[in-house]
Symmetry: D3
Subunit: 313 residues, 6 copies
């Protein structure tokens, strides 16, 4: 079934297998590419425009010119969804990835008869690919491990730019995996402040209030923003502030957020229990509110996917 | 003629146009790839084994398993050269690139029927592609500009690992270009010490002695190592030490080294002259000694390429 | 009279002279012990539960298992007070100290026939021992001196954990003493932000508002927390924020807080006057409010103790 | 048999069980104590005077006055050995510990009728207590793990002062233990440079040369000094320099040194093999030379102890 | 006409040409001088007292004794204005500068028969001198360039003290000028946070809210304070917070403030447009409100000066 | 007699009282001036050319154009000495100061009819003015005090550039003075490494070897260079390396160097004795060798000046 999906590649649609980038492209040569991940709920892209605005912010800071306006990018996205709609029957949500690189390096122009142009891809795949293996964790919570690998400070390489120079994410992932299989890396910055996971944002709950790192050495996640808004609607004070391992060790609850998993509880930290080691009431409330907002029971959906995972899709 | 070259890709030879990496590969997703550049002199690879040893050091630190021994990698390299030998007639030297990534991410295993394997490429192209545009600078010297973009410190992302998470190199390149067209970025670290260019090492000369940054927040370049050895043979004291912009401003001469350009004089710094603003005698001596060592007059060769550059190859 | 007090030591009561820790205990070997100080007002422990909660937070972060629940610890505390009640006639308030270490090191197990257990002590002594020598300073204010010794940043050794690895406190105390006899050390962190004294928290007053360092490189003091609450009740804006020597030099008033001395005015800073060099109206208001809250006129009590100090107790 | 050993405590000899420090002592209150460990070889203290000189250096920096000259301290040490000589029959080597604290805090002077004096202890115990559990590792090598806990930089708390404010050592030990049972913590500093273990110094070998961290954020170990001297005698170049995890990952061999274990090979690092994962030839040569110097085959002795360990002593 | 202005110099009035400081003065020897700039609007000094209070704060921190009370300084200022009133006909506003140094160094006392006294100057000059060359920028906006030269962190040399040790300002100015003629330097601190220009404060606007750096590594400008107050009156939320180049790259509008230019729009940043590259509506509103507050249309006045600039004054 | 000396000021000679800088000069406005101090021995300038070369290095880094070649500067210096020769009878040595600023700021061009030119002064005064008050310390040694004020790191403001933005020197001087009258400030950098005094370099002696800070966050003093050369001639190993307070606390001897005082022993450090608290043999040897090199017994000369000090000169 995989072969059914088509990938937008510089204005054309190609098969997933052919969604490849030249080794002479700046994306491969320098990790010089920015991207976005967007999720659909009931086939409806969640805050697509917000994601595209962040994409264009990343492009501006890195001075990559996509040679497309944000409206054209949105249109291409909708076209990509349309092209692939038969791959995603009702009940099967998916996620969308946008990539934009500066294109082939000028030294290799002879290999690119059409000249040096940015490389743009848009594609989508079943949510279950990412969500399936983690679906059971909505009930058990994940185990967060602070790794020796720290976040690269924003003044060297800004994580607010959603970029592809993330070798250190993979190193952090390896370190967490060594600590305990399936543990999840939690990064800190040079000051020892908690920043983010390798692809997710972090929240903790103490005395009925929400705390999350300042939007500095982190990606300012779209789901993170949605949770802050939800908290405001629910009357839960939410503080963007400096957080340290001490705070997590003594938190009542904790969770991470990302486009794919929305809200995922964390119940262990460096081998210790967070609170009583169980998914807590505040996480549940926020998850319920989030489900209501997006019109999908995210835990139920995950459970369903969990059962299907392993099945050929 | 470009279409004649073949690229080693995971054990097979494909055309340059088809030397592409899946967007689902960790190389693209995370900049999670290590690489090497090797240059030939008179069709003889210069210190190939040394480059491969550094490649395997990079692989070890990033815990990427290439599923090939270093001997197999060397053999594949020689095979690649052999396959492409007709593309490089006598007098036309070339450079060799090795890439190794962790391979496709496990989430996308369904798209890779042969399973998750590392991605390995080996390819080569005419030296003139990189060297041509800079060849005249052997006589004028280049202009070094210290950019606001600093080196990422090694404790966050180690530049001794020759890796592809180098978005910040491109940002530094843009900054240098804005300062003056064709100026060359010179990075500093968080302490203000000079580190390296975006793909080259830095040396200065003061009172007849050579100085180069400690092998810490830099790539420990093969050519850099060769120059240190040459200096020893020539009886020129060479110090690996902390260097600052003050030292460069008051240096007698300066130069950079890289695989492609070997030794390139620098005659300007942040808009000021270095020494008397001309290519100096020590740089010339070292260049002569280097030429002798490799059996190619690197300046003459460059001049020849300069004349040919722009000509279809 | 001293010999009357009994110390809780691992479940038994021993005399003060015998309240000693083995040189083979991790407490002595590594400064590997956490502790609390609690004060009574009119023989009533002030926020004992709050202190014990902080003790258990310290234990969790250091992964010391006290082998007692917090309720058992509270019970043992009350028992200790009961056992010593005759030592503290009406009018003589006292303070309570809790110590918990990881216990003897496993290498020395042969010397501990009962095995390796945590070391827990609870004891109390007349407040006048600590308060007496400083009592006159409620009227004159103390002299704060910024020392070359800085706070150890939390990412290396967290001061929010009330621990016994505080050699640097003693070094700071020596430095302040050299500056001026009886001057009081005020620490700063690596950024130059004011943190805390060597056993107290810091506040300043500017334009009718309270300012105190963020709860980061400091102990989050119980009295500090009480003052923040009081300020809220009194309608005084209170900011937890980054403070620098510049701010103190230009403050209207300043004071420190600790369990033992509650609120102590500071009237000099590095040899300069703070404000007009006298105890100011805001400090007086806060002191009055605090006295009312605890039911003891803390200045009057101190004055009384001051007169008695030096008298055998 | 343990009860036979006597401990020097402030001029008197007491039983080991009574070698205890008051909870009112600055040693317990602040971790305000400096110390030394000395080992005997064939009942001969190794570089005792060197250890005592370092002790007096620690005392000077912390401004603790031991109220004993270094000669008196040496004499007391010899007396302690003499007093305990029957506890250590031929073949049973031991180690000696010196502790000096500032003594009881002045606030508690009433509890110390003899006044405030420094607390000095000297004692000794069978080497096998520390060595036994590790003896088999001379043959397998140990596993070094870089922990998230870093060394406290010397400007905050100087590790060159051998002090008892080392809570962070215990935290690092816990982290290493979680990574893998019996793994050994290897600390780095804020720059990412390798510093030391929690009670040992670090060396690596690359291309036949020795490398060890600069004497900055480390204890300048006596055994470390002896190895540097040995290397000089054996004609092995030895560099005190900045070392990084990259260097260890690509080292040929590595080892740690301490008073108790002398030279211990390390064969794994963060789960990876060092060199070929076996004890290497350079470590063996240095160990042989060390054994010869001290007149004891340290590996054979350890093996003997290993067999005895567990046996009541 | 210039010769008409008189400068207050240590209690006397001298001509501008004679307003000079001895090379033996601490001001020249060490840059050991603090100062203020005040602007008049319609000949009325704007917040003079506020400026003088900041001057006395600077004096306190540097421990320079001006040997004048703040009231005497104010009186001398008004006298200086009075003395020069004929130089400034209606319509010609001016600015006032106060300088206070510690005076001649004691080593050179023999050269100062009246002894060592602080050096105090007060003088004024036509606003057009500073404003004229920039007046057209109220309509085009300025170009902000982040320089490699960073702000000296406050813990080394506090920018909140308005002092004359600002060589690094001149270096930053040179760097900005090299980037593009007339570009304006924007400094960052060691964390990469935006601080200030070389004599002005920075604001950005995003989604209708104002953001400005925390008052830490900056001068806490009087005009900055006035803008914050204005924003409050206009109901515009204003945040003093950590700002980064990312934030400026994605801002809607930006501007700088200073005594001389009040509010000046910025429309370019590092060669990129800010927002749509035009002076935006929020800047205009704030400028209008500011003009109303001071009773002078600051843009119209500047335009008038622009036309006159170059004309002999 | 003072009135006899003439000062070179932009090509003319004026009286010392008239050696003044306009308040509109960048020197006063920004501390934007570089300078040199040179001392004569027997009326012979010591290493004048070396000082001028350093002056021109400072000028290059700050991009101040003196509009004079180094040869012209040397000539003007000799002319200044010539002009003043009658002020310095035999036996009365003197020192020479060079100042160069960027000149008046362009905004004030109307006040400078001759246009904007650099400001250059050269002058000299009796050595006794600086040396007299310290002369007795050659026998007692000085007291070094580490101040809370640290060196500004070179990446913010380079101390290798001998510049006039040194407010922080004066703050350090005040701090040392408060610690103990006549104590001398010793600065450290952000890493805690000893750097320099406020106008002198630092050396310590340990086990017969010389140690001095690396030439990084310090002025690379001419006298410092001379001492390093002398040590080499005397066969004393001299290390330029990172030094910490620990090293000074445990040094055998210490001293400072500067143009004016040449070599001055330090016998106390933070209130503790250095070595045995007396001027040591190595300092004496170096002082003797230095005296021989310059042809003046520097201690005897100082003693003579000491007796004369206070006498009108």
């Amino acid at each position: 079934m995989a072969e059914h999906r088509k990938v937008y590649l510089n204005g054309e649609f190609v098969s997933e297998q052919d969604a490849r980038i030249s080794i002479f492209d700046s994306a491969v040569m320098f990790g010089d590419m920015v991207f976005e991940m967007t999720r659909v709920y009931n086939h409806e892209p969640f805050r697509l425009r917000h994601h595209l605005e962040r994409l264009y912010a990343s492009l501006k800071v890195t001075e990559i010119d996509p040679e497309m306006s944000i409206d054209e990018m949105e249109e291409a996205t909708l076209k990509t969804i349309e092209v692939n709609k038969e791959c995603f029957p009702k009940g099967l949500d998916f996620q969308i990835m946008h990539n934009v690189s500066r294109g082939p390096l000028p030294n290799y122009v002879r290999l690119f008869p059409n000249g040096i142009k940015p490389t743009v891809t848009i594609n989508c795949w079943p949510l279950i690919w990412h969500l399936g293996p983690h679906a059971h964790e909505y009930e058990t919570g994940i185990h967060l491990v602070i790794t020796p690998q720290q976040s690269v400070p924003a003044r060297f390489l800004d994580p607010k730019v959603k970029n592809r120079s993330r070798l250190y994410y993979q190193i952090a992932n390896l370190q967490a995996e060594k600590f305990e299989k399936n543990a999840s890396a939690l990064l800190t910055d040079e000051n020892g402040f908690i920043t983010e996971g390798t692809g997710n944002n972090f929240f903790l709950i103490k005395d009925g209030e929400l705390f999350t790192p300042e939007g500095r050495n982190i990606l300012r996640g779209v789901t993170r923003g949605a949770v802050i808004e939800l908290a405001d609607e629910l009357g839960i004070p939410c503080h963007e502030t400096n957080l340290e391992p001490y705070d997590l060790a003594n938190a009542d609850e904790a969770f991470i957020t990302s486009t794919t998993i929305a809200i995922m509880p964390a119940t262990k930290f460096n081998g210790m229990e967070i609170g009583d080691g169980k998914v807590g009431p505040m996480v549940k409330s926020l998850t319920d509110a989030f489900s209501e907002m997006v019109g999908v029971d995210i835990v139920a959906q995950a459970k369903e996917y969990m059962e299907e995972a392993g099945v050929s899709i």
